[in-house]
């Protein structure tokens, strides 16, 4: 509106507005304003600037603020998704370098990298050690092993700890250690004259690398070597061709053990005991050796493996047979089985453990990479009942696999093929994380190394060229398949859905399947709704259609009061008060589910027998009180008769009965079948003799009709009981038992308790929405129905309920949304065991509870952290979909009611 066109009254109004609030919120009229009647006062015709500015500012603030809040609310979903996405994006290459070492014509035995990807160290078979700075290729001076002119014929290194063993052509063996020592030093204690290495933060004095980590501190990385005296292993001086070495036991008393294969194909397992003389401080090593039976003479071995406890030994013959030895009895090793893992013309080129020594990686000359687990199997033909089972077939290389190295912090590993491709893989997710290429060349690698943090790979080719790759794969263990599909975890007999997010050691394989958690959520929701829906809907229909508005005015807020109970309180009561009571009185509780409906029906039939005048007179509150009394009486009956009924139905001990250890399932099966059979019999008899029954009931006076109705009910009940007992007996005879599925082993914090506690949260929601829906059905429909002669019951079921159906449905959906997201009740009362079973007497672990329990401990941006965000996103989506559906249904319902 243009200011010039505003009349004086309007201007007056607007200029005076700021004073209005002092007199209250009332609408001001001009007459109430004494100044307006004074004609002498002249006012500007213009709207004051302040009003315009205030209007503009308010407009801006409200628009921006409103939009911002709406955006923020949607931002939640976007944020959650953004945290989750990295779980599914793979890794990326950060850098690639190629360095030529001085080629001495010797074979490289091994190479490895330190924690921080600073230095790479390689050893050749003459004992020469070469080390260089990975990013720049700058060599640093390191000592070498002194083999006394000999050439190593076999080599082994432990995954952690840097223990190495060298076997020689004369049948001797030397143990040693190769370490990359990292320590933090103050910058003023660093040697002078450090040279900067390229564009990095690293400096060197030629012997070690110094990395600047703060203004005052350096991290120094240097190489340290130890080598022991030669030990004769083969009695005849045969050359050692293959070797594996493990250090177990404690740091003070290490148990060193190794496996050797000599040139004649004889395998030996040796235990080395180190004794220290305290006087001379000299170590003496005593060796005990046993020969491994069953190896063919002259066998060509491509891999030897031993566990840290030295209780299992695997020897892979080049042609494909793996010999598995049970060496628990050290003096008498046993050949447990010999199994051909590479059938046909395929050779085994690579045999290796992953960390934890549960998975064996077998790389074939055809490029195949397979994972084997040692599992107990009924069909096993081995001596110890275990056998090697091929658990996973990974994506094969295009050329023969020639090398592998396992990660030290997880289940990642790398494999290399004859064409020079290096693939980073992960056991759990079975995916190829990265395909690293050496460039244009097709080098033949001699050794392969994966950095301890699984973020760099390094390969040395026969010509002395070093290929190094830096990469980052933050979440190698998760793919859609590992989260939502079955995964065959280490040590498990078969693929499963499992959630077990953490354990103490690096060797633990995290099991991150959301399925058990989603199942837990669904289980809690289903059982809660089974309990809540009948009560909530029954109460809603009764409140809306059968009680006086005065009672309704009391009852409805009482029920709604339930909604404001904090869920932590419900959880506390459920877990610490209810669960022990239910556990003690479980038989009575189970019986109450049957006794209460029966009691109410009986009460109704007896009520029908009362004089009609009496029924009419006391139709309102007294009848409701009678119902309450009946309900309480039923409770008392269940409590008193509980133990006796336990004897009849549960063989006297409910918990033992649920285990299936005592008693028969027949009585309880009959009880469960009773309602279904009853309804069937009721409907069938009603259909068959509809007219006769109707006539019979009408021909009598009210008391007689009531009696006849009661009789019909009683007879039907007896017939139904007989039929259901017969069916139950037949089912038991056929071997079907009610136990083992929905009814199984009892634990204290179980789904029954959760369902009951959740009832407090869900019932009021469904009740309120359903009652509102029933109540908003236009009054004229009700009046018309009653006017046509329908009873209130007929009106309620045939007119009101169908009209309000979508509103009722929306109430159920919203209640379901609440049950899905409920946290504290399930955290406290559900026991938090991630099981996948429908047993109502066992616990569960819901998505929400899992988040509440695990997120406070999860490290930011770790896989678990992101998995829990995924759980939250799943919950968000689940409830959002359910609630939106409910809302759409409700809106449709509103339109329909408006049209009526």
């Amino acid at each position: 509106m243009a200011p010039a066109q505003i009349g004086s009254g309007a201007v007056l109004f607007s200029t005076k507005m700021p004073q209005v609030p002092k007199r209250g919120f009332g609408v001001t009229t001009e007459t109430s304003n004494p100044t307006s009647v004074l004609p002498r006062q002249r006012r500007s015709m213009k709207t004051p600037r302040s009003v315009l500015i205030a209007d503009k500012v308010a407009d801006g603030v409200i628009r921006v603020g409103g939009l911002a809040v709406i955006l923020a609310v949607f931002g939640i979903m976007v944020f959650l998704a953004q945290v989750v996405v990295p779980l599914f994006t793979g890794g990326h290459l950060e850098g690639q370098t190629k360095v030529a070492l001085q080629a001495g014509g010797h074979k490289t035995l091994t190479d490895f990298i330190d924690e921080y990807r600073t230095i790479s160290v390689a050893v050749d078979d003459a004992g020469a050690v070469s080390a260089f700075h990975i990013k720049t290729g700058r060599a640093i001076t390191v000592p070498s092993f002194d083999f006394g002119g000999q050439t190593a014929t076999a080599f082994a290194r432990t995954l952690a700890g840097g223990y190495v063993g060298f076997g020689f052509g004369d049948g001797t063996l030397r143990l040693g250690r190769m370490l990359l020592v990292v320590n933090i030093i103050e910058s003023n204690s660093a040697p002078a004259g450090l040279q900067k290495l390229g564009a990095t933060d690293d400096l060197t004095d030629g012997n070690a690398i110094y990395t600047s980590i703060s203004a005052t501190q350096y991290r120094r990385t240097l190489v340290k070597l130890e080598l022991g005296e030669p030990q004769q292993i083969t009695p005849g001086g045969e050359a050692i061709m293959a070797l594996d070495y493990r250090v177990g036991g404690t740091a003070e008393r290490p148990a060193r053990s190794f496996i050797t294969i000599d040139a004649n194909g004889v395998g030996r397992i040796t235990l080395a005991e180190t004794k220290k003389n305290f006087m001379t401080n000299k170590e003496t090593i005593t060796l005990t050796t046993s020969e491994l039976p069953g190896l063919k003479p002259g066998v060509v071995v491509s891999g030897v493996l031993m566990t840290e406890k030295a209780d299992q030994v695997y020897i892979a013959e080049k042609s494909g047979t793996v010999y598995r030895y049970d060496t628990r009895n050290f003096d008498k090793p046993e050949l447990a089985e010999a199994i051909d893992l590479a059938p046909g013309a395929v050779d085994i080129n690579v045999l290796g453990f992953l960390i934890g020594e549960q998975s064996i990686v077998v790389g074939g000359s055809d490029g195949s990479v397979n994972i084997y687990y040692r599992l107990p199997r009924e069909s096993a033909t081995s001596t110890d009942g275990f056998t090697l089972v091929k658990a996973k077939t990974l994506e094969p290389h295009t050329a023969a696999v020639i090398a592998m190295d396992a990660g030290q912090r997880g289940k990642s590993f790398i494999t290399a093929d004859a064409d020079g491709n290096v693939w980073a893989r992960h056991l759990t997710s079975e995916q190829v994380l990265l395909r690293l290429k050496p460039g244009d060349a097709k080098p033949t690698y001699q050794t392969l190394a994966l950095a301890p943090r699984q973020n760099a790979a390094l390969a040395i080719s026969a010509d002395g060229t070093v290929y190094a790759w830096d990469f980052e794969v933050p979440h190698p263990e998760t793919t859609l398949k590992t989260i939502f599909g079955k995964v065959w975890y280490e040590g498990y007999p078969e693929p499963t859905y499992t959630w077990q997010s953490s354990a103490g050691t690096d060797a633990f394989e995290p099991k991150l399947s959301l399925i058990p958690l989603i199942f837990g959520t669904i289980k809690a929701t289903v059982y809660s709704l089974l309990f809540a829906i009948p009560i909530a809907l029954g109460a809603a229909i009764f409140t809306s259609e059968f009680v006086h508005p005065k009672i309704r005015a009391v009852v409805k807020p009482t029920m709604e009061l339930m909604a404001s109970l904090p869920s932590v309180v419900l959880g506390f009561i459920a877990a610490l008060v209810l669960a022990p009571i239910v556990e003690t009185w479980i038989a009575a509780v189970m019986m109450a589910f049957f006794i209460i409906p029966l009691g109410l029906f009986l009460g109704a039939y007896l009520w029908q027998l009362l004089p009609y005048q009496f029924q009419l007179k006391y139709d309102g509150l007294p009848k409701f009180v009678a119902m309450v009394v009946t309900l309480l009486l039923c409770g008392v009956v269940a409590y008193v008769a509980g133990p006796s009924l336990e004897v009849i139905f549960f063989a006297g001990d409910f918990k033992a009965w649920t285990n299936g250890s005592i008693g028969s399932g027949t009585p309880f099966t009959a009880l469960v079948l009773l309602p279904i059979v009853f309804i069937a019999v009721w409907v069938i008899t009603g259909r068959i003799s509809s007219a006769r029954l109707s006539n019979l009931l009408r021909s009598k006076d009210r008391f007689g009709a009531g009696l006849a109705d009661l009789g019909r009910w009683g007879i039907t009940l007896v017939i139904a009981a007989l039929i259901s007992t017969a069916i139950a007996a037949a089912l038991t005879f056929l071997g079907l038992d009610v136990r083992g599925g929905v009814v199984d082993t009892y634990v204290q914090r179980n789904t029954l308790v959760v369902a009951f506690a959740m009832g407090f949260a869900v019932i009021p929601i469904i009740y309120t929405i359903a009652e509102d829906a029933l109540n908003t059905v236009p009054e004229h429909l009700r009046a018309a129905s009653l006017g046509c002669g329908a009873t209130p019951w007929q009106t309620a079921t045939s007119v009101i309920l169908p009209a309000a159906m979508s509103g009722v449905f929306a109430g159920i959906m919203v209640g379901m949304g609440r049950a899905v997201g409920e946290t504290m009740i399930v955290v406290m009362a559900a026991g938090n065991t991630p099981l996948i079973e429908w047993n109502i007497f066992s616990g569960l672990r819901a998505l929400s509870a899992n988040i509440a329990v695990e997120l406070p401990e999860a490290v930011r941006d770790s896989t678990l952290y992101r998995m829990l965000f995924l759980a939250a996103l799943t919950l968000f989506v689940m409830t959002f979909v359910v609630n939106t559906l409910a809302e759409l249904v409700r809106q449709k319902f509103r339109k329909r009611t408006a049209a009526l």
Partner: protein
């Protein structure tokens, strides 16, 4: 309900041949009496659930602080157990235990379907017995008595002591008295308690202040280093200040520590020797005794006194014994502070959004969609908001704030972890749909004619909203805000992720600049329930406390709900007459 009184004509049933004379009576089945009873039973069950629940919580909560008698029972194996009988229940003895009983008892048990009765005694004296509770089966009891001279002493540690007094030692002098009403006992006890209070003051307030100042100085040094480098004058100045002031502060600290030590030394000379029911002696320093009374020999007024003094302690002091004893003042404070902060955040934003949706945005498909979404956000699980609060508020926002404003404290997070501010904002986000929906409803209830009238008089849009629409919508808005408060105060799950802790040593408000510490973690009534009920050493010992806390929380929430309804009704009445 009188609609069917005169209903005598039945709906014609097709299966009845017309020639047959139909009776005028209604088929009794049409009334659906049994089904009506099933529906009524459902309503009765619902009401019984809520009423039973409330009665149980309030009953347990109210009787917790009543001083209970201490009963001494002698069992068949000549063991004497003295304690407060906590509860009695029926149980099924193990068959192995049953076999060892006399045939008479076995018969009586099998007569009652294999159930036997047992009572749980709170025996106290944890330092002597290593247990707080003991079950005594009814059939074992040979003698029951209520010794008059037995005492119930609540202590600062090891739970209650149930014993008789032998003598007391005051300043190293042993005084033979077995009476707690002895003025010498009372005086010595009071002195010890006062000293303890003073020690606590010294350690918490005075020494805390010195530590705070030292920390500030160190942070200043680091700040200077970050701002202008290690070699700058700033840094040098800060270093010198630190060096200069440290000895002075340390001297102050020493003096205070000495004073505390002296008081402690004095307190260690005041003790009381107790003898438990089995004759074992236990000496307890007097300052550790919070309260002592004779449970079996006290007047009604003494009982009432103990009852109210326990209540006062509960609402006015800090917890002790791993939260299972003492008070819950920090939790009450934390809940109140968080709820208040939440309202400060949620009310303006909720109202602004509703105003935008109702008064400013063009009513179209988009706004309808937004409205559905906002409505449904009220149904998104609270834990999801907690996850968002942790990930976004604490880590992303808080992390950035730390980088920008508190680099000198890194790597220790200041705002980069859960705290009061983030918890309030998370709950604000959680409850904003409640306020939006309520405000929108209130706004839409303001008649269009009023708006038009105002605009026609020449008022601007904002003036119309400010003076006409908002005042009339205020009842609805208030209701929404109070309901949001009630919802927020009862939520626990999201708080577990964004800053609630089982024990917060420092309140979010204290005497140190800037006085209100929004980054601090806090205690919360709801979480207190979870913590004491589930994570304490002995959940049975904490149970009474949990009941009282529960009662308090439910009471608080109900009070808020009732206020919401009352406010709505009152304001509604106020505006009833003034509508056009």
């Amino acid at each position: 309900m009188s609609a069917h009184v005169n209903m005598q004509t039945a709906t014609p049933d097709k299966s009845i041949p017309l020639s047959q004379p139909t009776t005028r009576a209604t088929d009794i089945r049409a009334r659906g009496e049994p089904f009506t009873w099933a529906l009524g039973g459902a309503l009765a069950l619902g009401c019984a659930m809520i009423i039973g629940f409330l009665v149980m919580v309030f009953w347990n909560g109210l009787v917790t602080f009543v001083p209970k008698p201490v009963i001494a029972v002698t069992t068949t194996d000549n063991q004497v157990t003295a304690g407060e009988p906590t509860r009695t229940e029926l149980y099924k003895p193990q068959s192995a235990d049953l076999a060892a009983l006399s045939p008479q008892i076995q018969k009586s048990i099998s007569d009652s379907d294999g159930f036997a009765s047992r009572t749980m005694f709170r025996v106290g004296n944890y330092d002597l017995y290593n247990e707080d509770f003991r079950w005594v089966s009814e059939f074992q009891v040979t003698k029951t008595e209520a010794p008059k001279d037995i005492l119930f002493a609540e202590r600062e540690e090891w739970g209650p002591l149930i014993a008789t007094l032998k003598n007391i030692t005051v300043d190293g002098q042993t005084i033979e008295t077995a009476d707690i009403h002895d003025p010498r006992f009372a005086a010595a006890h009071q002195t010890s308690r006062d000293r303890r209070k003073r020690i606590r003051e010294i350690e918490k307030d005075d020494i805390g202040k010195i530590n705070f100042q030292l920390d500030e100085l160190r942070i200043d040094v680091r700040k200077a280093e970050l701002r202008s480098g290690r070699d700058s004058t700033d840094h040098a100045v800060a270093q010198t200040t630190l060096k200069e002031k440290t000895p002075q502060l340390e001297a102050q600290y020493k003096a205070l520590a000495e004073e505390a030590g002296k008081l402690r030394e004095l307190n260690s000379r005041n003790s009381a020797m107790f003898v438990d029911i089995t004759g074992r002696e236990k000496s307890v320093a007097l300052d550790l005794i919070v309260r002592v009374y004779k449970p079996n020999d006290m007047s009604f007024f003494e009982s009432v006194g103990v009852y109210f003094s326990r209540w006062w302690e509960f609402v006015s002091s800090e917890p002790r014994e791993a939260n299972t004893e003492g008070g819950i003042l920090p939790a009450i404070f934390g809940t109140a502070a968080m709820t208040l902060m939440m309202v400060i955040a949620v009310a303006p934003f909720g109202v602004i959004t509703a105003l935008y949706l109702r008064e400013y945005a063009k009513q179209g498909k988009l706004v309808a969609f937004v409205r559905i979404s906002v409505n449904n956000l009220a149904g998104v699980p609270s834990i999801v908001y907690g996850v968002f609060g942790l990930g976004f508020f604490a880590y992303v926002l808080g992390g950035s704030i730390d980088q920008l404003f508190y680099p000198e404290r890194l790597p220790n997070p200041t705002f980069g972890t859960g705290g009061l501010l983030w918890a309030s904002l998370t709950l604000a986000l959680l409850t904003v749909p409640v306020v939006i929906v309520a405000t929108e409803e209130a706004l839409s209830a303001v008649p269009r004619s009023m708006r038009e009238g105002s605009l026609a008089c020449g008022a601007s849009k904002w003036q119309t909203i400010k003076y006409i629409v908002l005042p009339r919508a205020l009842p609805g808005i208030m209701t929404g805000v109070i309901l949001a408060m009630a919802r927020g105060a009862g939520e626990v799950a999201p708080l577990m992720l964004v800053g609630v802790v089982k024990l917060a040593p420092e309140l979010p408000v204290d005497g140190f600049f800037p006085f209100v510490h929004l980054e601090r973690s806090f205690m919360h009534l709801g979480f207190h329930i979870f913590d004491v009920g589930f994570q304490s050493r002995n959940s049975e010992a904490g149970k009474p406390m949990v009941f009282v806390t529960t009662m308090l929380l439910i009471g608080l929430i109900f009070a808020m709900n009732v206020t919401a309804i009352t406010v709505r009704n009152r304001l509604k009445r106020k505006f009833k007459g003034s509508q056009f």
